[in-house]
Symmetry: D2
């Protein structure tokens, strides 16, 4: 880090800062400019956070140089990570689509959806059993019953199941029924929960908080990895901005940045960002084109009767159309969509894909 | 709510929406304009959230008319609520200052701080025992030991204690040692935690999430009240915006709005918004002037050695100066600061205070 | 619009609001719910803005129902508009790439760039002559000399020229040399300038302001059309959010929304959003996939020597690679990139394109 | 500035960056850490903006150390500036209130308002003649006729006049009639306009853009000062955030920061931030308490009939009440409100004011 002293800071103030940094184990270098004195400090970046140098007299501000995350970074592990969910690789050449309803509402609903999204090429099934809802008076999910229905849908269709866990006390029971533990945007900095899923034996899907920077997102990921769980998938789902036309603003630049900084697979959720089914397809295509490893899309057999997020859910027909579009786009990018056998990888994309497919993580990314 | 149909929506589509609303128990009124047909629906506002009318064919959008919160609203209870914390009234004529370190670090540190802030006029002591930190490698708090030290500081000084709870499993133990359960900004929509503190027998201090609207903040409050706990205090602590100069952007307009919409007491936290001690005083004064019922301020005997939030902590001397400034401001607004005996309420404020003090909640607020 | 009265508003207050609306020419309908009285008002939406009904006693708020823009809306003109720039159609089946340096710096620089981007498939040349710069001490552009160099580059390459105009006094001279008048993000609500370009005989490229909603963007477009110029192209270039990793947050959801609401062609500028060349390609692909009619990309022969925006400029080699990627993506979406003869439109995209290409404006968009 | 090289950057890349910086006149220092090489560059900060070092191979990013503004900074001029408007000092001990309607609408309206706000203690009169409006169909102001009416109101009441100028072609005519040239938020980065008012002989009131950082605001101020006009007043009026309850989010932290960084006087506009008259008073008090040198408040004799901004305008009675509140607050802070003779400066504030009044700029601000 670089400590920038105030204009006119005294020699004594500079000396005190330098001493404090040295005592903490940093190597230091003092640089005296015409207007400012700078103190460069080299050492373990994890120490930085615990030093309140900015509170010392004569200090203007502290400029961090190194990234605060470590194990999730590409500097730590240059080659891309692939997370396998019951045999489905997330983060490889295949683009993986996760689809299903916002909430599990009934046996019929989840089974019908599971069959349809599988037929259209989805590789995992999503569905909420414990729902975080803005209003205490809204439907809160089927809870344990919902988990059982998801497991039943997996038995029938073979699709591994992704579901959200919102309470550290529930990590065990959710992990018994589901294949991927989802941490929702509102819980991205629920550190108790991150530590619990960090000790679970299931892959984790970590959504970006709606007001979290890419750096904070990767720090949340670092919590999970530091607790022992390396099976981690990131997911961008839109951030909060001043624009009211969409529910959130999908930040695809953040996907490009996270790809550059981290080796973890990254998905895009176009449904929550759009807030309306009408714009889900366009954002799904954009997410795939920016280089995401997959998408998580809300699908409901009858969106107008959904108990949650109906307005942003695709019906089965629209989901099928979207999958056809995405399949062509994936091929154009040198990737595949859906089980390998169904995507011969021919056509326009072949030429482009020479030397590596677009958007996929590569160790040599510039 | 008002359902706005798309331009060119068919009669059949209008009929289906109307039928669906009637089946759900709403009274409806259809209004056909030149360009648009509107369907007004009158009924229990809590039903609205569970109806996916926006997903129906021909619907452009749904405009809610009623506020989605109920028990925390002024329409439910026009007169302001006063929450008593071991005899200290929050939400009354007195402006209450809560002060103390970000984290409890040692017996000496918390006792020295408690004595000093009491002497300066603070009425409650704050201090973190379980710390949510952005980095897994940062100091995470003294945990149970921290709670015991807070209780000891209360025994000695008589100051009731405010501390954060971050895990539903810890609500009981925190409630045994502390007098106010704080829900931090990152947990404002941690609904499992809200339900737990909603069943506790201690007052709750609910900070606004850094990306939460006033409406969502009041909905989070509604969760706690709906679970049974009416002893609730709101706290604005800054929101996330594009401006990097301060840590967060203190949203004092939200304090004015929340005051208008809700009967709950509201505090302001100038420390987390400022991010630097240099701007804490100015924001504290502004928070008091906008009409907050109190402030929560980070104070540390030696900020440059603090294990967390040192840069934004006032040292004891600066805190004392701030309290003198605030005391004069409070009097000018017809309120008092600190224990009643110390604030005779004379001076400049007396003239202004005729007909009610400034910024205090009044049943007749326009 | 709907006027929502306060709870407890008097009959007299309701009557006064109703009378005022009637006097202004609105048809009204009063609806008395249990909790609130609503007054619906039907009439010329352009009247709404001039009525301060929200300032009347007893009024809680006013909810607009109709969009405030008119001539730029799809309700006014359902079929998509195509703007022809010296024969190049913007808004049709072809995806149009505009490329060139941030600033015109020298004869050699602009000619070399023009030749290279043309060879790679760009259809228009961009280059700044009058530069709005954050610092008064930065390079401010070659001004008139820059315009002449752009015209020279057009003579040699045949590429029509896009350049920014920042001052109403300069509209005439810029229009004499350039083919498209660009209004930059900082001037989106410079209404004097909008009126001037609204009277010019050149097409206008209107960038979205960095803090402007889609509605405000379309209102700015309405200014230009209302002044008489229907040759208008929109361009999304990123908005300001809390995320510091990219220069701006590219809001592709806004592209989908603007496409739904307006018949105007829409471009995406990935360069200013990214802020670094490293992420320009990913955002360009995403912009194309979301359905934009084209892209505007900063290209410089030697970015490290650029006098402005060097960090986000692609060099000639990287731009060539990007065009190959985009060409494959365009085909997959049933569109073409570059002059028609070069893009046979066969391959993977053909199947998808049945019934219309992806993302292109269609009169029947749902 | 500090150039942070990528991990693994080659010696050759480091050498090239160093050479380029030296050629540009910077003194450089290379620091090789375990993970990163840093290149510190010391020299004229105004050079920095023109160097595209971030585009060079092997460079990760560039960290600026010095502020990019110069003449408006406290480092350039430590003591606070006082701008005199026809004898009224802005930036001194007195808190100055500017009041008046959004738009000049008629002779009767502006004269009645001018008389009333003067009687209540306002020191300057505001009123718009050329109005920037979101919709081309809204009232655009009385233009030249409005300027003449403002001048007439000044003749009668003696109140100097503040009015907005939106077009570089109109600076001369506005300067002939008005005493302060206001640059609105939408024009904060209209550099052509900034240069024109920078050459005018009237004081300028520069509002912060709704998406501008404090640094950009001060850079816009630097444009005006660099063009020759040192009579400059800053004004915070709210920024754009995700919160819809108020029209904008008043950023009082930015006032504290700008005060720390710059010697220029700073006002607060509570009216545009609030968007509703109901919250103007609370934000006005907060603005005064944070340390602003004054306020600019929208006042209208009959807000419900205003042609613009009626909902956020105070009527004459409410403005009078607000001035009484503000007067008491000002005294408590050791300042005065209104002409000196009316504010003896006694009372509660006297004790606090020892050693300087609160919030006023002082050369020794920490």
């Amino acid at each position: 880090m670089i400590v920038v002293m105030q204009q006119g800071a005294s020699e004594e103030q500079v000396r005190r800062v330098a001493e404090r940094l040295e005592r903490a184990g940093f190597g230091i270098h003092i640089s005296r400019g015409v207007e400012r004195t700078l103190i460069g400090a080299v050492g373990d970046k994890r120490l930085t956070a615990t030093l309140a140098v900015e509170a010392m007299e004569g200090v203007d501000r502290v400029v961090p140089i190194l990234q605060p995350f470590k194990q999730v970074s590409r500097e730590f592990k240059p080659e891309p990570s692939v997370v396998r969910v019951r045999g489905v690789p997330v983060g490889g050449e295949e683009v993986v689509v996760i689809a299903g309803p916002c909430s599990v509402e009934s046996r019929e609903q989840i089974l019908a959806t599971a069959r349809a999204v599988k037929a259209a090429g989805a590789r995992l099934l999503r569905g909420g059993a414990f729902k975080p809802r803005t209003s205490p008076y809204s439907f809160q999910g089927l809870e344990l019953e919902g988990l059982k229905l998801l497991a039943e849908a997996r038995e029938e269709t073979g699709l591994p199941v992704v579901t959200e866990v919102t309470d550290p006390r529930l990590v065990d029971v959710v992990a018994r029924h589901a294949d991927v533990l989802q941490i929702g945007a509102r819980n991205m900095q629920n550190y108790q929960l991150l530590r619990e899923v960090g000790q679970a034996s299931r892959p984790v899907l970590l959504k970006r908080g709606m007001a979290s920077t890419v750096e904070e997102w990767l720090m949340a990921a670092e919590y999970i990895v530091a607790a022992g769980n390396r099976q981690l998938i990131l997911c961008e789902r839109g951030i909060r901005t001043f624009e009211p036309a969409t529910r959130f603003t999908l930040d695809l630049g953040a996907v490009a940045v996270a790809r550059h900084l981290s080796h973890l697979p990254i998905l895009v959720d176009p449904s929550h960002a759009a807030g309306k089914w009408r714009w889900v397809g366009a954002l799904a295509r954009a997410g795939l084109a920016v280089g995401a490893d997959g998408l998580i899309v809300e699908v409901h057999p009858r969106p107008e009767e959904a108990l949650s997020d109906g307005p942003q859910s695709l019906n089965l027909e629209r989901f099928g159309q979207l999958m056809a579009e995405l399949s062509a786009l994936a091929r154009a990018m040198g990737r595949t969509l859906g089980p390998a056998a169904e995507a011969p990888g021919a056509g326009a994309g072949a030429a482009v894909a020479q030397g590596g497919s677009l958007g996929r993580p590569a160790a040599s990314a510039g």
